[in-house]
Each structure stands twice: as structure tokens, then as C-alpha cells.
């Protein structure tokens, strides 16, 4: 990939870059040493085009490859390893988000390139039942990310204000008579326990409030020590507004917490299809 393209690092977002397309070549892609990058799988029997929004310095036109009533959303690309650079990763996501406006998608993980269209047809054929089953389950559902952050120091101050034993220990430590080692240990333990129980209480309350406006949820590991919730919610398209309103309510109810609400996303956190390739020869002993 030419390094020059890195300079053209676009602002991130869903709007496709406006660029004149090069005149389309009529030669088949494979003849020009191009493969097909796969973004996602959708249900569609008719060829679809999504415009020049794919990977590449000149964002490649995105189209579909079909098998029966399902299709892979693809664009032509150099046959090479695609590094998860900011530009590449965001292009992958941009295509998924664009396709998602009209279709239910099963997202492909980043960086999957096939040599030819025929290889993709073979993929769709082989995993057809799996794709159909998952497409049906994900029909008209969107993923939203919810991260909740707190100010740990502020929480510690609250705990010290509210819990007598913690306050007492704090006083022992600051009096500095004799060894404060045990008092400090105990103080730390009590603070940790109190933080833990508060974070669990918030988590429980937040999940309870979002339960009837979502289909499913998954809890991921929080990142960093300010985060207490790192979750993904699967929401029906027709509940999107209700889900969003409920989060606003939560924000009002807990003004000392910060809610980070992202999406809609393809249902990455709710689908995992693992595929492997076998040599046909190895498969039949």
C-alpha cells in the first residue's frame, strides 16, 4: 500500500468520501492481481452496490457476491495483509455501518481477503446454514455500546464521608502515632470492598433499567480504573429511541457517573462464527 495514502487521513464518520472514481476497468479483478476484501454477510438475492466507500487510498466501490439468497459485501483490493491501521479499520467499520442502514449484517472480522469471487461463493455455500441461522436471529437488531465511568477519588471521598469505620481508620492513619501499617492495610481493604459493592450496585441498577428496552446484553471487562461498566446491548430497531431515552434517564439519575453511549454497531458482541479451512484431501483419509 503506498504510504502517500496515510497523509489523506480523513475525518472519521459515516459519510463516504467524495472522490471521482477512476474509469472502471472491464478486465476481471483477478487478472489485475486483485482479491476481494469481505466486510459482512447479508441476506439479499439481488446485486447491491454501496458506492466508493471501501478500503484503499481511492476508496473502492463496494458491491455484493451472491449465493442463493445471501450475499457477501466486498470490494476489490490488493492481495496482501491489511494492517489494522486507523484508516483501514475505520473503512471496514464505515462499510458495515452503511450496509446496516438497509440490511441486517453479520460482520466479518477485520482483514479477510479472498482471491476470487468464486472463493467467496464457495464460502457462502459451505457456511450457508450457519449464516442463514444467524441472520434470522439478528434480524432487525442493532448493537449499542454503553460504558460507565466514575470519578474514583470522588467515590472514595463519599465512602469516607458515609462509613464510620473508614473515617475512624483514616483518623488513625493521619494521627501517625506508632505504626500505621495495619490501619492503612485495613483502610485500603475497606475502601476496595466499598468501591466494589457500589460498582456492583450501579451495574445492577443500570442493567435493570435497560432490560425491557433491549433483547440481550453482554458484559466486557472494563478498561482502566475509571470504568465500572463496559457492556454491549442488542436492541431491536424499533426500540432504539426507547433505549436511548432510558440512557438519558440514567444520566440524569446518576449525575456523578459519565455514560458513554456508542452505536448503532453491527452485532459484533452477539455473533461469533468461527470458520476453518481444511484441505479436501486431508478431510477424506
Amino acid at each position: 500500500m503506498p504510504r502517500a495514502q496515510k497523509v489523506r487521513n480523513r475525518a472519521v464518520g459515516a459519510s463516504p468520501p467524495r472522490r471521482a472514481l477512476r474509469p472502471a476497468s472491464n478486465r476481471p479483478a483477478a487478472a489485475r492481481g486483485l482479491g476481494k476484501y469481505v466486510y459482512c454477510v447479508i441476506q439479499s438475492s439481488k446485486p447491491q452496490t454501496f458506492g466508493p466507500i471501501g478500503l484503499g487510498a481511492q476508496p473502492a466501490p463496494v458491491h455484493t457476491v451472491h449465493h442463493r439468497d445471501i450475499a457477501a459485501v466486498v470490494s476489490d483490493t490488493q492481495i496482501q495483509l491489511h494492517d489494522p491501521t486507523r484508516e483501514n479499520v475505520l473503512a471496514h467499520e464505515r462499510v458495515n455501518e452503511t450496509v446496516m442502514r438497509k440490511f441486517t449484517v453479520i460482520p466479518m472480522s477485520f482483514g479477510t481477503v479472498f482471491k476470487t469471487e468464486a472463493d467467496i461463493e464457495e464460502l457462502l455455500r459451505s457456511a450457508y446454514e450457519a449464516f442463514r441461522e444467524v441472520l434470522a436471529k439478528m434480524a432487525d437488531k442493532l448493537e449499542f455500546g454503553v460504558k460507565v465511568l466514575w470519578d474514583r477519588d470522588e467515590m472514595v471521598r463519599q465512602i469516607e464521608a458515609e462509613e464510620e469505620e473508614v473515617r475512624w481508620l483514616r483518623k488513625q492513619i493521619s494521627s501517625e502515632r506508632g505504626s500505621t501499617y495495619l490501619a492503612r492495610m485495613q483502610h485500603g481493604r475497606l475502601i476496595d470492598r466499598a468501591l466494589q459493592s457500589r460498582s456492583e450496585r450501579y451495574l445492577g441498577e443500570i442493567f435493570e433499567r435497560l432490560r425491557d428496552v433491549s433483547v440481550a446484553s453482554r458484559v466486557n471487562k472494563p478498561i482502566g480504573d475509571r470504568m465500572i461498566v463496559n457492556a454491549a446491548f442488542l436492541v431491536s430497531r424499533d426500540k432504539e429511541a426507547a433505549f436511548s431515552a432510558r440512557l438519558e434517564d440514567l444520566g440524569t439519575r446518576y449525575p456523578h457517573l459519565t455514560f458513554k453511549f456508542t452505536g448503532p454497531w453491527p452485532p459484533y458482541n452477539f455473533v461469533n462464527i468461527r470458520l476453518k479451512l481444511e484441505r479436501a484431501r486431508e478431510a477424506t483419509p
Binding site: D83, S109, T112, S126, I206, V219, I228, Y268, K276, L277
Partner: protein, 106 residues
């Protein structure tokens, strides 16, 4: 504003968190070794190793993980650590490739 709303593809970290190993995943070594998956000329076939969909509303109780406690969600602590290392490496690489004048937004 306590609730910050952003569309999907605005945070690189949120995107990386999803696109690298979720959704439809094809064996890693194949991707590395073949560079362009070629089923027909090498007579390979696709096998579905596993399908998981997560359509339950997780019970939040006992799931909280402030600070350091790893979550039981199928992955062991070690696996998560290994995943973290690889994500960090890829993130560092991604950062390096970004022209300096634009910082990471998260």
C-alpha cells in the same frame, strides 16, 4: 452532559475492540499464511468450527469487575491478558501510522 453519544465509527478503540476478533472469524494462521484465501485452486473447504450467538440478557449481579477482577465470560484471565497484549501491540502500531497532527480520539 453525563451521557455522551457517539455514532459507531468515531472511536478507534471501540472499533478495534470489535473488529479484530468478533463476528465471522476465519482461522488466523490461514490468513497469515495464504494472504488471500484461496479455496478453489488448493481444494480447501470451509468448515464451520463453531457458531455462538448471545441472545440472553446477562444478569448483572456478580458481573461487576472494578479495577482488576477478571470476568467469567468464557475467556480465562490468561487469555484476556494475551488478547490485551496483542491489542496493545496493534494499537501502538496503528498509532504510529497515524500522522502526528491527529491524535487518537476515544
Amino acid at each position: 452532559m453525563p451521557v455522551e453519544r457517539a455514532s459507531g465509527g468515531t472511536s478507534l478503540i471501540d472499533v478495534l475492540d470489535r473488529v479484530l476478533d468478533k463476528g465471522i472469524v476465519i482461522d488466523a494462521w490461514v490468513r497469515v499464511s495464504l494472504v488471500g484465501i484461496d479455496l478453489l485452486t488448493v481444494e480447501a473447504r470451509v468448515v464451520v468450527a463453531s457458531i455462538d450467538t448471545y441472545l440472553k440478557y446477562s444478569e448483572a449481579v456478580g458481573q461487576a469487575a472494578p479495577a482488576s477482577k477478571p470476568l467469567a465470560e468464557g475467556k480465562s484471565h490468561d487469555e484476556l491478558l494475551a488478547e490485551n497484549v496483542s491489542l496493545r501491540a496493534q494499537l501502538a502500531e496503528a498509532k504510529e501510522r497515524v500522522p502526528r497532527r491527529r491524535g487518537l480520539r476515544s
